[in-house]
Amino acid sequence: MTDIITGPDAAMARRTGADPARRRRRRERGGRALRVTAAVVISVVLVFPLYWMVVVAFRSRADLLAGVLRLWPRALTLENFRQVFASFPVATWFGNSVAISLVVAAITVTVSMLAGYAFAQLRFRGAGVLFLVSLATLMIPVQVIMVTLFKLVTTFGLYGSYWAVILPTSASAFGVFLARQFILAIPRDLIEAARIDGAGHLRVFARIVLPLSRPLLAVLFFMSVLQTWNDFAWPLIALKQNQLFTLPIGLLYLQGQFGSDYGGTMAFALLNVTPMVVLFLIFQRYFVQGFARSGIR
């Protein structure tokens, strides 16, 4: 903070705001305060629903039914959680979600990486058309095909099993695209050298491409888990028995029983939401970088 004008002149300039540098600094300080305020207000609005979910989940029934607006809970209780666990197969649903998400992610990552390798490193007839066709499938919402997909799954005898959800969810045009982009960036010389040394493509894939693709594998795996964990429309159709439900379907089912008694619903919602939010917050740095780096702007 060195003022060019000193002495009485400076005081004068300060009073009248005549010094342009000072005026600009002051305006920027004001702008900064404004920006911080805006960011805080937006964050509070966005966080409030989540805060409220936690508050309702931990409040006692009596407290909730009193119907008084209280933004801070008076006492916290695990009553809602206890009730939900006692009335519904929550642990089973949780296990279903974990199992289905992990299997889908494992299949997705495997088939996407293989296809991505083919599109990025191999020359073959119909490459362009096949790539376009697989990307085009992204445009098809499940609701357009749900009736016949349901018939198909029933015909295969899959209806009522985990595979009814796992198999249709595992094909991933997006994963293929991302894998292709990433593998394209692997230096071709590296692969050519291995080929000249006599390595087959499967060997190149396993020994060179996979080890170099660790960040990609992590992102693909995480995104697949997140999506499958949160998926609703197709599991809703494909899973009939209570025992096979995933968490979102169980959440809807449970809400049907609880009605507008939100304590139990929110306790269960918290169980559904927490693992993914934690994972997401851990992974988000890579996420942002991934978006910035994959040329998607």
């Binding site: 920006r35 805006a38 499938t137 357009v144 009736v147 094909a171 994963g175 809400q255 919602a269 559904n272």
Partner: protein, 328 residues
Amino acid sequence: MTTRREIGGVSADVSLAAWSDAAGPPPARPPADPRRKRAGFAGESATAYAFLAPNMLLLLVFVLLPLGWALVVSLQQTNGFGAGTFVGLANYGHLFGDPLFWRSTLNTVLFTIIVTPLSMALGLGVAVLLNSVLPARGLFRSILITPMAISGVATALLGLLLFDENNGVLDKLLMAVGLPAVSWQSGTTAAFASVVLVTLWWRVGFNMLIYLAGMQSIGPELYEAARLDGAGAWQRIRYVTVPLVGPSSFFLLILNVIYSFQVFDIIFVMTGGGPQNATSVLVTYAYDQGFVTRDQGYAAAIGMVLLVLMLIFTAVQWRVSRNRDLVE
């Protein structure tokens, strides 16, 4: 990770953007010895198909086959889950005289033209804010994108909790500051508004994230130059940021439109299409027809209309955007 059905997810979104890239020329290859090339090409084709087979098989069996079948079913009169009889375009003809179909179409389009610009503008605004000099940027960013990790069902139930007419915290807050309570669940306009608000809460973070990624490629010297030329904060956004995040905007436009056409979880759980069909959209209507009324031919026809609508919308955006790129 079926992106095509993923409603709030991230990956679906990115892939669609990548679309334009896919249509581009294949990556350049170093020229090879022609003799070797011939033999290598045939050998590589077989290998390539083997590498592609697992994914292609899944897409073929669980997406393309049901799609073709859906087209056939849409031409059938069906009864429950038995075999149908061919009735030509009767199901489509039926749609024309079905007020609920028109209502759902109108709602779908309305939802799209409200949510798309709003979520993009808010996303851009927040991204500009976070891209500026701001303490604890990482913290703010984490907070803003957290809703992305939450399932649609949980989001919708959260919406129900907040907008509940008898016990909801929003109405209580309104009354606490002396405003009248809003009948979010029984009022038709209010119900639609509540669905839009919840969707925005869920989606703004994603739009912000893509814009933020786009802004990382804008060099700070551009802003410095604009500043030296006397551009104010608003002018810098208008004449530097907005044009330079054009590709992000195009990407997000397509994505948001596609998402909006497919909106399901939020509406299905929050309002079920009510009250008085005020929030019924094509996808929820198709679900009702296919799995509640069990008129599958009709449900398939609605699905086909939805798909055609989406294709038209996307194609128009594509054209408009391409032309603009050429002009500029």
